[in-house]
C-alpha cells in the first residue's frame, strides 16, 4: 500500500527515480521474509541438534521446550547450544542491517562494517578492555565496543575525506583497509605486551562459541532497538540512497537522518563484534544480495537483510563446526571465503562505473 504511494510521489518529481522505485519487488520481499523466517527456524533447529556431544533430536526438542536442569544433555542444549545459535542469528542481523544502512546512506556499494574499520575499531576497544580492565562485565564491554566502532568509523571517514576529490567509495575502502590494519596491529601489540593473546585470539578469528545467555540478554535490547530504529529510518534511507540532491528535493533533512543512521550502525557493529569478534563481509554480501532480490526500497531491504544475515551466520556457524570436527573452523575465515570473491566482483563492477 504505502509503497505505491511513494512511487507516485517520486514519479512526480523525477523521472529517473521512477524507474528505480519501480524496480522494487514487494512480492519477492514478502517471500524472503516468510520463507527466510521458516528457513531460519529450520537452520536454528538443525544447528542446535548438531554439536560435539551426540544428542538425539527428540532430546533437543524436550530440552528446549521442557527443560530439566538436572539432565546433562538438557544442560548442554540450554547452556551452550541455544545461546550460541541465537547469538549467531543476532550477530548476522546486526552485521547485515549495519551494512545495508551504510550502503544506503553513503551510496557506497563497498560499505561494510568490516571494510570501513568499524569492526577493527571495536576489536581495538576490546583489546584495551582486556588489557586494562580484565574481567570487565559484558554490560560495559559492549559499551566500549560501541565507542571503538565509533572511533574506527570516524578515523576512516576523517582520513577518507581528507583526500582531494572527496570521499569516493574506493577511497573509503582504502582508508578502511589502512585503518583496520593499523587498529588490528595496535590490538596485537596490546595483546603481546599484556600477554592477552589467548583472550583476543577468539576475537580475531571470529566465532560464536562460548556465547552466554547473559551476553544475549545484554545485547538483545540494543539490537532490537537499533533494528527498529533502522526500519523507522528506512524510508529516509531510500531517499538518501538516491543521492543527497534527490533527498533534498523530496524534502528530507539529511543531517538528522545521517546522525541517527550512524548511531544505529555503531550500535549494531559494536554489539556484534563484542560477541563474535571481527567477522567481516556479512554486511557487504547480504545487502547486495537483498537489493538484487527485492529492489531498491530500504523498507524491504532492511528487514530482508536482517533475515538473510541471520541465515548466513547460522549456517556458516553450522558449517564451521562440520568442516573439521571436533575442531571448529573460524567463522570469520569461513565467511571471508565467500566474502572475498564477492568483494572483488563488486569492486570491479563499481570500478568500471566510476
Amino acid at each position: 500500500m504505502s509503497l505505491s504511494k511513494i512511487e507516485v510521489n517520486l514519479t512526480k518529481r523525477d523521472s529517473e527515480v521512477k524507474t528505480i522505485a519501480l524496480s522494487s519487488r514487494p512480492w519477492a520481499a514478502t517471500l524472503i521474509l516468510v520463507g527466510g523466517m521458516i528457513a531460519l527456524i529450520f537452520g536454528i533447529a538443525l544447528s542446535v541438534s548438531f554439536g560435539a556431544a551426540d544428542i538425539k533430536f527428540m532430546t533437543v526438542w524436550s530440552a528446549v521446550f521442557h527443560y530439566n536442569p538436572d539432565l546433562t544433555q538438557h544442560q548442554i542444549i540450554q547452556e551452550l547450544r541455544l545461546p550460541r545459535v541465537l547469538g549467531g542469528a543476532m550477530v548476522g542481523v546486526c552485521f547485515a542491517v549495519a551494512g545495508a544502512i551504510m550502503q544506503g546512506m553513503t551510496r557506497n556499494p563497498l560499505a561494510d562494517s568490516g571494510l570501513l574499520g568499524l569492526n577493527a575499531g571495536a576489536g581495538f576497544a576490546l583489546a584495551l578492555c582486556f588489557a586494562f580492565f580484565p574481567g570487565l562485565p559484558f554490560m560495559f564491554l559492549i559499551l566500549f565496543s560501541f565507542l571503538g566502532a565509533g572511533l574506527g568509523a570516524s578515523l576512516v571517514f576523517g582520513i577518507g575525506s581528507m583526500a582531494r576529490g572527496g570521499l569516493t567509495p574506493l577511497r573509503l575502502v582504502l582508508a578502511g583497509a589502512a585503518l583496520s590494519a593499523l587498529l588490528s596491529a595496535l590490538s596485537e601489540g596490546i595483546a603481546l605486551y599484556f600477554r592477552i593473546g589467548q583472550d583476543l585470539a577468539f576475537w580475531y578469528a571470529g566465532g560464536v562459541a562460548g556465547t552466554s545467555w547473559l551476553q544475549l540478554k545484554i545485547m538483545f535490547p540494543w539490537v532490537a532497538a537499533a533494528v527498529a530504529g533502522a526500519i523507522m529510518l528506512s524510508r529516509s534511507i531510500t531517499m538518501l540512497s538516491l543521492g543527497d540532491e534527490v533527498a533534498k528535493g523530496l524534502g528530507l533533512r539529511s543531517g538528522p537522518v545521517k546522525l541517527a543512521g550512524t548511531l544505529i550502525v555503531l550500535i549494531l557493529a559494536g554489539a556484534a563484534v563484542s560477541v563474535v569478534g571481527a567477522v567481516g563481509f556479512v554486511g557487504l554480501i547480504i545487502p547486495h544480495l537483498t537489493r538484487k532480490l527485492v529492489g531498491v526500497d530500504y523498507r524491504w531491504i532492511i528487514p530482508c537483510s536482517a533475515i538473510l544475515g541471520a541465515l548466513l551466520v547460522v549456517f556458516a556457524d553450522l558449517a564451521a563446526r562440520m568442516v573439521n570436527p571436533p575442531y571448529e573452523t573460524p567463522l570469520g575465515a569461513l565467511i571471508a571465503l565467500i566474502g572475498v570473491p564477492f568483494f572483488l566482483y563488486i569492486s570491479r563492477k563499481e570500478g568500471r562505473e566510476l
Partner: protein, 359 residues
C-alpha cells in the same frame, strides 16, 4: 683440530663475514685455552676434570692424530636435536636459552639466560646477576648472546630452526635439546659440562621426590583415584594427555577413563581441544586446571583465572564430579607447562598439597 676447522669451513660456505668468523675461531681457541687453565681452579668440577683428563690421556694414547694437536682432545662430541656437535670440554662461558631449569639444577654457571619478570625461574636467575633475554619472546637474540662471548651455547630446541641453529653455531658451538624429556637432556648437558655425575644425582633426587610424593598421595587417598589435567576457557576446553604431564603417571593417580577415548580421536600427543559440550565427560576425582600460557606472570595468571569465571557459572561445570567435591585445583601454568627438575618439583608440591588437603 676438528673443532678449529669446522667454523672456518662453515664460514667459507657462508661466504659473507669470512674474516669475522676467522677471528671468532681464534677467539674460541683463546677462550678454550683460558677455560683449560681456569678449569683446574674450579672446585665444583675438579673431580670430573681429573676423570676427564684421564680419559683424554687414554684417547691421546690411542689416537695418533691427536698428538699433532693436543687441543683436539679437549673437545667432546655431544648428540643433540640438530645432530652431533663437538664442544669444548669444561666450557667457561655458557650461554643458555630456555634450559635454565636444567642448568640451575646442575648448579652450572651461565653467562646468559632466558629470563623476564614473571618467568618461573626469575628469582633464581636474578640472583646470578647475568645478562638475560629480558622478554618473553622465545627467540634467541643473536646479538645479545654474542656480546656475552660464550664458548658454548645451550638452547631449547623448539626456540630455533636449522637456520637459527646455524647462526648460533657461528657464535659458539651450540647444542640444542627438546624440553619433552629433560632427563636425557640433563645427561647430555652434564656430559658437555663435565657434570655427568651431578646430572645423575639430580635425576635420582627427582625420582626419590616422586616416590615420596606417590607414597604420601596413596596413603592419603588410596591408589585408585583418577585425575584430569585441563585448560578451560569460556570458549573451549583443552585436555592434556598422560604423555604430556607426570601428574597422570608418577604420583599414584590414574588417568581418568575418558582419556583413552580422546587419545584415539587425535594424532597429537600433547592433548586435545574440546568443545565445552564435552565437560560432562571429565569424570576424574581430581582436576588440575591451568589458565593461560606457560610464560604468564602471577598477575596474568590471576587475570586469566578471573576471565574464566564464566565457565564456572554453567550448570554443566557445576555437575562435574570433581567440582561437586571441590577437587578442582587451579595451578599456575608457569611451572606446569615448563619442563625440568625444578618445574617438576614445584608441580609435585602442588599435587601433594592439593590431594592431601594442605592447600
Amino acid at each position: 683440530m676438528h673443532f678449529i676447522k669446522r667454523p672456518v669451513y662453515k664460514s667459507m660456505k657462508a661466504k659473507k663475514g669470512h674474516r669475522t668468523l676467522n677471528r671468532f675461531s681464534l677467539l674460541l681457541v683463546f677462550m678454550l685455552i683460558a677455560a683449560l687453565v681456569s678449569a683446574c681452579g674450579n672446585k665444583a668440577i675438579s673431580e670430573d676434570t681429573t676423570k676427564a683428563a684421564a680419559a683424554q690421556t687414554n684417547q691421546q694414547a690411542t689416537d695418533p692424530e691427536s698428538e699433532t694437536d693436543p687441543k683436539a682432545a679437549q673437545a667432546i662430541k655431544i648428540k643433540h636435536g640438530f645432530g652431533e656437535t663437538e664442544v669444548p670440554l669444561h666450557p667457561k662461558r655458557v650461554a643458555v636459552f630456555g634450559l635454565e631449569d636444567i642448568m640451575l639444577s646442575l648448579e652450572a654457571p651461565m653467562v646468559y639466560a632466558y629470563d623476564f619478570i614473571g618467568y618461573y625461574l626469575d628469582d633464581e636467575i636474578q640472583k646470578l646477576n647475568i645478562p638475560v633475554s629480558g622478554s618473553a619472546d622465545f627467540k634467541p637474540n643473536l646479538e645479545a648472546i654474542l656480546q656475552t662471548n660464550p664458548d658454548l651455547i645451550i638452547v631449547q630446541q623448539y626456540s630455533i630452526d636449522q637456520k637459527g641453529y646455524d647462526e648460533l653455531s657461528k657464535i659458539a658451538p651450540t647444542i640444542a635439546f627438546a624440553p619433552d624429556d629433560w632427563k636425557s637432556s640433563i645427561i647430555e648437558i652434564g656430559k658437555a659440562l663435565g657434570l655427568e655425575d651431578k646430572a645423575h644425582s639430580v635425576i635420582q633426587a627427582n625420582e626419590e621426590e616422586l616416590k615420596k610424593a606417590k607414597e604420601q598421595i596413596v596413603q592419603a587417598v588410596g591408589a585408585d583415584k583418577t585425575v584430569a589435567y585441563i585448560r578451560p576457557s569460556d570458549k573451549d576446553l583443552q585436555v592434556f594427555f598422560p604423555s604430556f604431564n607426570l601428574v597422570y603417571k608418577e604420583l599414584g593417580l590414574l588417568p581418568y577413563q575418558g582419556i583413552a577415548e580422546l587419545q584415539q580421536k587425535t594424532k597429537d600427543d600433547w592433548g586435545i581441544n574440546l568443545s565445552l559440550e564435552d565437560l560432562p565427560s571429565i569424570t576424574a576425582d581430581y582436576i588440575f586446571a591451568i589458565y593461560g600460557g606457560s610464560i604468564d606472570t602471577e598477575d596474568a595468571f590471576q587475570k586469566e583465572v578471573s576471565a574464566s569465571k564464566a565457565i564456572e557459572e554453567l550448570k554443566l561445570w557445576k555437575s562435574i564430579p570433581a567440582v561437586k567435591e571441590d577437587h578442582v585445583f587451579k595451578v599456575s601454568s608457569r611451572h606446569w607447562m615448563s619442563s625440568g627438575p625444578i618445574a617438576e618439583s614445584r608441580e609435585v608440591d602442588d599435587v601433594v598439597n592439593a590431594v592431601t588437603g594442605k592447600h
